[in-house]
Symmetry: C2
Subunit: 382 residues, 2 copies
């Protein structure tokens, strides 16, 4: 890094213009010099999580997407519907880096012992702006990967593993003994299934396709219900009777699914009830919506008594609530079981420039199960 | 009470038959003899609360109601739609007495001092089966009314007052400082308005009619929004900015109102936010649904970030949660402010037989604001 040219690197940015245009582009930014307690990581793998897509494309209508920029600095533009601009108000005019988490090799380190100890090591990192070729980051936001683990293997160390562990932890802390999960064949869902098998927690998996049902069963799942089946409500109620699950985590959010889960929980509780209760079961039934794969409005019939709740669930407030010691324990578990419980699978690894190609966006933008992409910002350059 | 004839009295019963027929009738039951710690109350006033209507008519289609029974023991029958019979399963074949609360005069008392002390006194009572001419009940389920208070004035001592106080108490215990209430011109809503004025708690009242808006303003309410107004969302957001209310109690349940409240809470929070938060405001926003005046499905757009909750709220679990000492304190306040803060108004007082006339049911069955009825089981007989 001796010339000016070498001191800049590519970073992906997302900008909402006051005109209602979204512009996602690659910009050249200076390679940062790590502070004493920081390390400089050459990012080699960063997943495109649903939470990243929200920041990346905002509320833009991606059917209007057009290529822009130059060959070396390609970009994409798209229209944001007027009605959606209100929710974007806070970020208008601000060019925002993207990418919650990633992994790579420490190529420079600050003067502290903790930073120096990571020199040359492969680490997983959390902290935003991971769709960058280089990222300087405090040591305490890194997880040192076990020897032999590649950046791709460690790229999803934080969001999915801590979310899946957070669901089980939330279940326990709120007094439930089994749980329900939707979009259950996702990377996150498979992880949750492995955690529950290992920890002997009963899990009811809800999917939308026969092959997802087969996949989860092959992975040892006992309860897998297909929401598109004619017998879904009956199947789900049976699984809820068998497991006693009274808390669910729903990745879809829209449509009737969250309400159907509450309806079936109530039916399961009433199936074993001994006397008529005019206000329904007194057992609290909870659905946490943690994603928005289904963008339709949420709709439910209130046929599940009065002891129920729906609400948002988000990883970071949860981590704050449980405190640093509990979080550190969860992170240690992730590192220890990285290649087993917390293994992730990706359909493809793309470069920053490839991530901005319309045909590529069309695939990963669908958020479809089994089509998760990884960005390698240094693909071809290392 | 020297002859057999005098030892029975009328009681209203609701029965769901296996055939899907609802039968509401008056039956003769023995006048109970109070146990040592009980008093026998001649019930002279019992309100028809929405919670009573649920038990009274169940899921019956009251447009199919027909008169049955005899002149001295009149009744009403109606069809329960097949789809609704599932939820009725627990009560099929069981003739159930109705009426959560009421008030009357103690005409006999058990041997305990506490019971004897109430002899001849006017008391408010909670405990079901209040649509009866006589009710024997433990002393600790009575509130001794202040001297000069009539049974009609004390008839609604429990459900509405404790519900309204419970809302303010829930607001405080969950860390909010102001609240929103829907169907705000109801007896309960007027009570809540008086409590909030007295306790200096900011309250946002949501109503559906101009005259309800006028009524509440005349009663000193500062924030009254009309949900049928074209500027409702703007008006509500303004009121939420002014009050900082982040918790709501919704009596309607169905339709879009609960979601609109969360949307406006989020807009109010973002109006003063300093930077863009991709997951929306981090302040928790809560809507508790405590009634079902609107029987349509509940529908919402998830445009209020991730820090939100919807859920059922019910008086009795709340009272259990706060414990007997806190409940006793609330009851003391109700008795002390019976003719002011907790005054109720009724459109009409009817006898048990009148309560089963189809034209009378048509009025109180609507649950319309300002049309609450009182049953006097001893009307004409005292």
């Amino acid at each position: 890094m001796s010339t000016n040219k070498e001191r800049t690197a590519l970073q992906l940015r997302s900008l909402v213009k006051p005109s209602g245009e979204l512009e996602v582009s690659l910009v050249s930014v200076p390679i940062p010099v790590p502070a004493p307690s920081e390390v400089l990581v050459r990012i080699e793998a960063a997943p495109i999580n649903p939470s990243d897509l929200g920041l990346l494309f905002g509320a833009a209508d991606m059917s209007t997407a057009k290529v822009s920029g130059t060959a070396s600095h390609p970009g994409v533009t798209a229209r944001i519907p007027d009605a959606a601009m209100k929710a974007m108000a806070g970020r208008v005019g601000e060019s925002m880096p993207v990418g919650n988490e990633g992994a790579g090799v420490v190529v420079a380190a600050g003067s502290s012992d903790a930073a120096q100890a990571l020199m040359g090591k492969t680490v997983a990192v959390l902290g935003g702006a991971m769709y960058s070729q280089y990222r300087s980051i405090p040591v305490d936001q890194c997880i040192l990967l076990p020897a032999g683990a590649s950046p791709a293997e460690g790229a999803s160390c934080f969001v999915n593993p801590l979310t899946a562990l957070g669901m089980v932890e939330t279940m326990r802390r709120e007094g439930h003994t089994a749980l329900v999960h939707t979009a259950a064949a996702s990377n996150l869902g498979q992880m949750l299934n492995r955690i529950c098998l290992k920890d002997h927690v009963a899990l009811v998996n809800i999917v939308r396709k026969q092959e997802q049902q087969d996949l989860l069963r092959a992975m040892g799942a006992t309860y897998v219900c297909n929401a598109t089946s004619a017998t879904f409500m009956q199947d789900l109620t049976d699984a809820l009777v068998a497991t006693g699950a009274t808390i669910a985590f729903d990745a879809t959010g829209g449509g009737k699914l969250a309400g159907q889960i509450l309806t079936c929980m109530e039916a399961a509780l009433n199936r074993t009830a001994k006397e008529y209760s005019r206000y329904g079961s007194t057992t609290h039934k909870q659905v946490y919506i943690y994603g928005g794969l289904d963008t339709r409005p949420t709709e439910y019939n209130r046929n599940f008594g009065m002891a129920w709740g729906m609400g948002g669930w988000l990883l970071f407030p949860f981590l704050q609530k449980i405190g640093p010691e509990a979080v550190a324990a969860l992170k240690r578990r992730v590192a220890a079981e990285l290649k087993t419980t917390f293994a992730s699978h990706y359909a493809k690894a793309v470069s920053l420039a490839e991530a901005l190609q319309l045909d590529v966006i069309a695939v990963y933008g669908k958020r479809a199960t089994g089509e998760k992409y990884l960005i390698n910002p240094n693909k071809g350059s290392t």
